[in-house]
Structure formats: structure tokens, C-alpha cells
Amino acid sequence: MPTLHFLANPARFRRFCARVLPALSAATALAVVVGLYWGLVVAPPDYQQGDTVRIMFIHVPAATLAMGGYVLLAVLGASLLVWRHPLAALMARATAPVGATFTAVGLITGSLWGRPMWGTYWVWDARLTSFLLLFFLYLGHIALSRAYDDADRGDRAAAILALVGAINVPIIKFSVDWWNTLHQPASIMRLGGPSIDPSLLYPLLWMMATFALLFVLLVLLRTDTEIDRRRLEAAEVAA
């Protein structure tokens, strides 16, 4: 299994992508099909919510990966600033828009789910507010990394922002415990084990893995493109 260090060389990374991406795309597509069928057709409706519970199969994975994506941004930021890992900047540029999109999906699906479940599309409780802040932090990262003519400066400034903003992720996670929120408390990652029925838990876990595959796929694809873009820019400067 190639280590991060092994992949640090951009050329090696590209060869890795060329080998891995086709299989990964196929696996992701398959996982999506299976997951959607399982969640939308096979899984039983909730005794209280009926069929609307199926939004959970999109909303929960999207929100989880949105948070994980920002943690990845922070790790990449540290890699860039501390260890000068050459790919960290490019991968961060690739990750931020993907994470922002997953956050947007989480916000929209959550809003659509909230209407039938709570009677409102939005409420300013701790969980929703901090998750909305996550979206703004992603936008800030995207804007900041592209705000400088010197791309290197933008990448390093965005890395600092990623590290400072990472504090928001534990706040989102524990907001439902620390405050009285309308959003429900944790049902999977809690002491005492998951509180969802297995017939809904297993498709949910499958969709979590699917979204994770999708996230990785998108990040790898975009990083590959970023390498291309940087090389193009370098060629233009030299010409």
C-alpha cells in the first residue's frame, strides 16, 4: 500500500491515479447503484416518518464527509506548512470545492428533511448554525487560495485558515450534546452503540462508505487536474 511519502512525487502520484482511478470509478458507480436501491427501495419506511426517512441516506453521509473533508483540509494545511509536502497544496485546492459541495448537499437535504420532520425548513440551533459556518469556512478557503497572483502565497494562507477553522468540526459534532438543539442527538457514534434499527443502519453505513469513495474519487480526479493546471501555468511563464 503506497504511503503518503511515496506518493509525494507528483509524477508518481499521477501514475498511481492512472492505475487506480478507473477501478475506483467503477467501484463507486456500483456502490452508488447498490446503495440507492437498498436505501430507496429495499429498506423499510420508518414507523414514524414514513418514506421521508430515506433522505437520511443522502443527508447523513454528505454531512459526515463534509466534516471529514474539512479535517482533511486541516491535515493538508499542516502538511504544507510544516513538512512542505509538495502535493498538499494541490490536493487542498482540489478538496475544498468538493467539501463545499458536500456541505451544500447536507444543508439542502437537511432542510428538505426538516420540513416534514420538524415543520420548518431551517432553525438557528447550534448544529445547523455551526454546519452553516462550515460552509462559509469552505468558501473562505476557496476564495483565499485563489486571491493571490502568487499561487503559493494563496495556498499557504488558506492552509492557516484551514487549521484555525478546524475547531468548528468538533463543535458541530458535539453541538447536539452541549446544547438543546432541534437536530437530533447522535444515533450512530455514541456510547452504548447505535440506536438505529439494523434494517436502516446497514444501508446507511453502506451509503457512508459510498460517499467516502465518491469523495476520494473526486479529490483524486481534481488533484490530477490541478497538477495539469500548474504545469500548464509553469510552461506559460517559461515561454
Binding site: D150, E233, A234, V237, A238
Partner: protein, 196 residues
Amino acid sequence: MATASLEVTDLACRRGGRRVFERLSFALGGGALLALTGPNGSGKTTLLRALAGLGRAEAGTIAWRHADIAWLGHLDGLKGDLTVFENIDVAERLRGAAPERARIDGALASFDLTALAARPVRTLSAGQRRRAALARVAASRANAWLLDEPFNALDAASQKSLRTVLARHLGEGGLAIAATHVPLDIAGGRTLELGT
């Protein structure tokens, strides 16, 4: 003051996505003067900033010993709303040194600024500001001067003052590195040409 020394080995720096110089090596000791010359864009400022510790080097090493660096950049580093005297005074305090009135007065006199000492810097001409910035460097007890285009905006008389002050600094055992288009004309100075 203790004597500073500098040893640079295989230095390479990057600016704007390309390497401006590489495999640069030289050594300087007390009393040494190094002029950096070369066309625009050859990396004189990049080298000076790297030596000062303001910029990062891509490869190689910069080894200072016993160095207390005074910096004069392309910009004057003066606050426009403070007077000339206040600027030099606070610059000393920010370096962690206690300002010595006599030294400051002497530096101001060297650059013919005594009459302007109480004027806010924003009311001065470009040449007068450059002299004020040079006075700031001269008033410090730094033993290593890094100067980026010190002759900028100076008239003939002021250039003469700068040469005098530089020579005195070198005579006291200090070292100086200056990026310059204007020839330094000081005995014993070496030149390093970049961009060739």
C-alpha cells in the same frame, strides 16, 4: 561591537515560480563590503531578503555568526505620521535596544537631517525620507547592514554622506551588503554580480 561573519553555501532562491539564482556561495567577515549588482529581476532583492531571514531559501545554507542585522529595504520603513526622530527612536526600541540620544543625533547630522528631525516624515521629499531611513540604520548598533538600493533618490551630496557613513561602519568592524545600481566607490569592496 562584536564582529559579524556570514557564510553562504550553495544558496538557491525562487521567485515567481522560477529559480532566480542557484549554487551561490560566498563568505564575509568584519569590515567587509559586498555590492550586489545585476540587471532588474536578477534576484538582488530576493537574495538580500533571504540573507535577512525575510524570505525562504529553496536550497543551500546561510550561516550568520554574532550578527545583529540592520535592514534597509526597497521601502523606507518609516511611519509617515511620526517625526524623523520618533521613527528612529521607536525603531531602536523595537529592536530591543535602548535609544542613545547622542548616537541618534550623530546619525541625523551625518545625513544633514538635524533641521528636519522634528518634522513628520510624510512632509519630507523622497530623498529626505531615504536619508532618514539611512540615519535609522546608522543610529543602530547593528554590526551587519543589509541595504537594498540605498542610493535611491539621493542627490550627489547625500551619496557622499552615505559613502562616508558606510566607510565608518566598515572601519568599526561592521559588515555591509548592498544591492545597488550606483557604484559604491569604497576601497576594498567586493562585487557579486547576479543574473549572469
